[in-house]
Symmetry: C2
DNA sequence: CGTCATTTTGAAGAGCGTCAACTGTAGTGG
DNA sequence: CCACTACAGTTGACGCTCTTCAAAATGACG
């Protein structure tokens, strides 16, 4: 993983950048910091002076309830911006934590403001924020409407595509260094039920998860089983077919 | 509701705009269109040429599953932008539908691009997008971790504050023209359970919901009961106290 | 070898979903 | 004015999914 242009690489997934924009990004990026697994990078309520960009490892956004329950609201992969929020908002509404050992570079807020002035980079940053939001919507759909096994299947397929996009998959498998407890926190399920659901998915020959390694045993069946449509990830070239979705409970007439 | 500057009014919740920026917004906005209740404004997969801004009424974002299940992923109130997404993304990842009769103005994509060039307006649009995202995270927390009654209590309190911010509350009550089925679709619950939960909340003297009207019977108790903290709404002046949150299931050590 | 976190298994039960029937209300058309 | 329809709300009965509690098994590490 070449540290310096992980951000450029991500932003170029939206559109090609000019040589000078790429050079600018290379200049702007400082040396990466090492982040210990299971430590917070940024806490809810804080207002860090720098924006962090994840270079390697796996991190998450999460929110806590006073009773100790936790919801992961995003998984962050290399190239993702941890707190673009700070460029406009005055504090974080959630925390960001490292799940595995991570490398991250810091970019001063001032530089981010400069980046926004450059049209191509500015648009790419909008793209990054809006696709994050689209992923969030898909997670809400999962937690609200899908069964435990569909939810897990969907998550593992999403991470398969996202990690593939940054070159971190190996054939049909990839590393996802999370515990079953963390999977539970992400999916709104107990770790006990995660455990049983994983066994079921494994039994059905769809996927295997063990020791932080995911193996997609049957990509096509998994996609069908999860009801996965990649539209929401806005990947290069991945333009979804028009949704022939049917309604049953919905009351919105086909206006 | 003065149609024309509903957008200016919203963007000024972030920061004061210069006279010329306000004038610009007034110029840019065309006549409002009337939208029939329960009809889609924008469908998933489409790429409308204009961005819609809601002027009056209540709308929602939603996603469908092939089995007909539906998840509302946002409620939109006057001033909200329906599809800012289109300014960067090439299609919608979700649908937007009117819940009540609505008025909305259309702004051509080209104009939105112009708006982004104006620093003050551009920053305000970032603020709008990022607060939408923060609300989405709070919803995911609700659906993932809160009980049915906490979820409903939290939603009604959120809408209380959001509608208050646009002057649509009347003392401790406001209109929320949604059915119990739609509430169920929003909270990931069945309408039957919504019904029973509403009776429970009413019985506890927290709130009443009938015929599309919400009455907050005991604001303070409701807020406590829902575990509501207004930090995530980024309202003018509403800076949350530092969260004294405690963890129980979380494994992230106090960094 | 012992400690610790995580995974795994079992058993019991709560919360919520589904199904189905009934009520209330508004709209439609004879 | 009265069927007739349509849909939201309401209630009861039943059961499934998932949670909780508890304990044992596994594995990593000093």
């Amino acid at each position: 993983m070449e540290c310096d242009n992980m951000l450029a690489r991500k932003l170029q997934r939206f559109s090609e950048l000019a040589r000078e924009d790429i050079d600018y990004l290379d200049d702007v990026i400082g040396p990466p910091a090492v982040l210990t697994p299971r430590r917070d990078i940024i806490r809810e309520g804080e207002a860090p002076e720098d924006v962090f960009v994840l270079i390697s490892g796996l991190a998450c956004r999460y929110k806590l309830l006073r009773n100790g329950r936790r919801q992961l609201v995003a998984l962050l992969v290399p190239g993702d911006l941890c707190n673009l929020h700070m460029m406009v908002l005055d504090r974080m509404d959630h925390s960001v934590g490292a799940l595995s050992q991570c490398l991250a570079v810091r970019i001063p807020k001032r530089i981010i403001q400069e980046m926004l002035q450059r049209p191509a980079i500015g648009r790419a940053l909008w793209w990054a924020a809006l696709t994050d939001e689209a992923i969030l919507r898909e997670w809400l759909l999962s937690v609200g409407q899908r069964s435990a096994s569909e939810r897990l299947a969907h998550l593992f397929y999403e991470m398969y595509l996202r990690l593939q996009a940054v070159g971190l998959t190996d054939d049909n498998s990839y590393r996802l260094p999370v515990t079953q407890i963390e999977l539970g926190d992400a999916m709104g399920l107990s770790s006990v039920h995660i455990n049983r659901t994983l066994q079921k998915l494994r039994g059905q020959g769809l996927l295997a998860f063990d020791g932080g390694k995911v193996v997609i045993l049957d990509p096509k069946s998994l996609m069908t089983y999860a009801g996965f449509r990649d539209d929401y990830l806005f990947l290069r070239g991945g333009h979804g077919r028009s949704s022939g979705a049917v309604r049953k409970r919905s009351r919105v007439p086909p206006g």
